[in-house]
Symmetry: C2
Subunit: 216 residues, 2 copies
Amino acid sequence: MTETAATTTPRERYRRQVRAEIKERAWEQIASAGTTALSLNKIAKIMGLSGAGLYRYFTSRDALLTELVRDAYQSLADTFRAVADGGESDLRSMARALRAWALADPQRYFLVYGPPVPGYRSPADRTSTMSDILSQIRGACDAAARKGYSGPVCGPAAEPGEGREDLDPGSAQRRAVAFWTRLHGVLSLELSGHFAGMDIDPALLYEAELDLLAIG
Amino acid sequence: MTETAATTTPRERYRRQVRAEIKERAWEQIASAGTTALSLNKIAKIMGLSGAGLYRYFTSRDALLTELVRDAYQSLADTFRAVADGGESDLRSMARALRAWALADPQRYFLVYGPPVPGYRSPADRTSTMSDILSQIRGACDAAARKGYSGPVCGPAAEPGEGREDLDPGSAQRRAVAFWTRLHGVLSLELSGHFAGMDIDPALLYEAELDLLAIG
DNA sequence: TGTACATCAGTGAACGCGCGTTCACTGATGTAC
DNA sequence: TGTACATCAGTGAACGCGCGTTCACTGATGTAC
């Protein structure tokens, strides 16, 4: 029997499984009442073990939260990646994937793009992952340009030589940033419930804003 | 001595003053660590009185929070009103006033336009105040139209008879909503620190988005 | 195959903390005659 | 002006709660000979 056959022992498998369930329960708590509600003791109780037992799997509440945050970023990056790999790397598909991802778990969205969690330092690789995601959007903008659409986000094109080039409405960078901030504007207000009672259909508004970003 | 001369007794004045100081300390706590950090006991300690003493002024933590939320909404509405009353009722002035108000106290901004505070029911008149604010923006859009600018937010005008009229890029309602969601998109990401390390200047980006909303 | 040992999941009790809130009470301020 | 009473700000102790975290321990699982 060679050693390469089974790199994961039963114990390791079990360990991974329990860790995964802890995270699942953690997400349920966050989904229902935000980051504040994340409680190791409650998770333990739900899983039928003592609070102290969780410390075999996560060294602290902060460590668990950090891993959840990282997973959230990764999940979003993966979502974009999947859209790109699926051959539909256009802005429209990306925007719809983003909205679906956000609606699937609003609190997860806010963990990524919402106000910073008080008293919590986000992981060091956060910025790089965020840049990564923005790069993918920018890639889609470039692709759109190559396919013939190279017009500005909207409004007049900047006079050359004036101002920063990333503020030129026609540049791919500017379009990517607008894609991000505008959709986030609609999405975050929708998820926060701020359209309620204002006779605004979030889905239609989202598509309308998207229309102005991804013409052609 | 007539009774109309002094409608506020010394006691009433003192009472109002202490209530105001409690709120000030409360805002300081929220500003530094979010809504979660709002603690009656800590406020009491800072003010040099016992925790129980605060209950002379606010019946519960929730009551205090509710009053803070209401004040936040009112403050924003007043800010817009002041701009309008000052004769500068154009979209540009409003947008700048909004940004200044937000930067002055980011947590206050999130109390109004951020994710809902878990476990807290916002006051019933919230929606009406929010509609009020949006109405003021819409008023500025109408005024802009009257002054000659009646073009769409950007992109092609809708074909008449097709779709909802509030989604017609040229309608005042649509422009007001875009004003709101787009500026919120930039602002909330800025306040959350999501532009950090991404080579994006929030002030310039804000103005750039504004340019596309308030041409003419 | 059987025994001796090491590893590790999980327990239960305890610690210290801060929270919101209640309650009986004291003492100062204002009011009525 | 002085006295009797009512109002009300503020105290200090206590309640119950849930939290994160530590620690000595038990018992099951895996490993080496």
